[in-house]
């Protein structure tokens, strides 16, 4: 079997684990009956500020930004999922296996990427009409790949963070939620990135979501296609960059745990 086929098989099995993980924690009834309504309220909570400001433009800005960010927020749960492998005591076995552990870790949290993108699209479908955001068809169907792209680049970032929390499992919730809040604060979700001081705005360009959201805002405001495409490509580059960082750091982080004999320690 060639290497590509082996990698695909490892990813497929890891994804099955991911799916079982999700079903162990959530039922569809609980997800759609309790969690998704909570996400609708999250968008309402921010978008209604536009009403307070008597500014339809701000209402649209807040509704679009917050409908998207629920996707990356859910995707960021992949950070915690990485630690489940450590709890299961399987990390030493994965390190001993001939396949790269990164492949397994990239696949074993993929349910949050799928859930994040799907749920964000559902929130868009419900919230855009509620807040009178124009989304003419068929152009707005481009939302599907753009949301998927933004969640995928967030997933790459989450895998990198997952590698970090493998060394400090106790910090998993802190790291995941702080990362989500940083994105929610700086990536142009509630105020334009340019609101912040120049160094902060520059750092925000390296965050996942910033360019994907910009592309989505462009799409919904009928900006020229090349402008939207440029932002989408930049988002893809940012995501690829984080994947590279994850590739470069993951093995090193695992090697660190091997050298201290703490691979299978629960901490």
């Amino acid at each position: 079997m060639n290497e590509l086929a082996v990698a695909a098989r490892a990813l497929r099995h890891a994804a099955r684990v991911a799916w079982q993980d999700f079903h162990a924690q959530w039922t569809w009834g609980a997800w759609f009956g309790a969690y998704v309504p909570r996400l609708f309220f999250q968008v309402v909570y921010f978008a209604i500020v536009g009403e307070l400001l008597h500014s339809p433009g701000r209402t649209v800005f807040l509704a679009v930004g917050n409908s998207l960010v629920v996707g990356p927020m859910i995707t960021m749960l992949a950070v915690q999922a990485t630690v489940y492998e450590r709890w299961a005591g399987t990390v030493p076995l994965l390190v001993a296996a001939p396949t790269s552990p990164l492949l397994v870790f990239a696949g074993r949290s993929v349910e949050w990427l799928v859930q994040g993108a799907g749920t964000s699209l559902l929130v868009f479908a419900v919230m855009l009409p509620v807040f009178h955001v124009p989304a003419p068809l068929p152009a707005s169907l481009w939302l599907v790949p753009l949301v998927l792209l933004t969640c995928t680049s967030t997933y790459a970032f989450a895998i990198f963070l997952g590698g970090l929390v493998l060394r400090a499992p106790g910090a998993r919730n802190l790291v995941s939620t702080t990362a989500s809040m940083v994105v929610m604060t700086l990536a142009g979700v509630n105020v334009p990135v340019t609101f912040f001081p120049a160094p902060v705005a520059a750092a925000a360009q390296l965050l996942p979501v910033t360019h994907g959201l910009s592309a989505i805002r462009g799409l919904l405001s009928a900006a020229p296609a090349p402008e939207v495409a440029l932002q989408a490509v930049t988002e893809a580059l940012v995501g690829s960059g984080w994947l590279m960082v994850a590739l470069l750091t993951f093995q090193r982080l695992l090697d660190g745990s091997r050298s201290t004999g703490s691979l299978d320690l629960d901490g």
Binding site: A34, R38, T185
Partner: protein
Amino acid sequence: MTRPLRAAMRAQLLMSLRDPGDLFPLVLVPFYTVIFLAIMRSAGRSDLLGSAVLAPVLLNLWYMALVVAGDLVARDRFFQTIELLVATPTPYAVVGVGRVLATTLLSLVAFVEAWLVARFGFDYAIQVHHSVLFAVTLTLTAVATVGTAVVMAAVFVVGRTPRMLQNSLSYPIYVLGGVLTPVSLLPWWLQAPARLLYLSWAADLLRDCLQAAPPRDVGVRLLVIAGLGIASLAIGLLLTSRVIDRLRRRGALGLT
């Protein structure tokens, strides 16, 4: 009764100070403060900056109560202390009230965080025009939060997925509680349930305390907050004792 209450408060404070999970909501406060202040300032609405500082405090008050209420019985089961607690002459609900009260007091640290972010991040110092009323309202709000948290603790024990409830009860309550925007902005059919929440009355009155004009109907509004708080506390105490009795009868008290 006050000695066990004080002991429960002390125990919870010690546990929370050692468990980052309990204090975790406080990490979110600076982010929310920046977001709310940035929205108001970018819109040029300096008159709403006070509300933007207040909102993360109320949000945190609710969220910390939600977190501790969800973990209250679960933690006692995990540490296998629940059977010993139930066997003591003090009602378990009193221990619960003490522990939630400690967390609620701890959650007020959020006010310092929000103030610091506003002062040094946005060069804005929140001005409370009616400070005595503000302090009274905040105290009553904290008490009402304790009552509501005790109700939630009982519900969480019966529910099979407390974590899911914890996750799902945040933003709906922030919206219905008028934490950032007044309830009057909601559609009419959401305003009625919102008015059953102590938080909506408390948020409105606290915001009014930031305005120079004297707040109206102060007595009635304080009474409503206190009334809703006392009612929820009474319901919470009753529910907790019923739930604990049910667990005892089923021999499921110490099961995790």
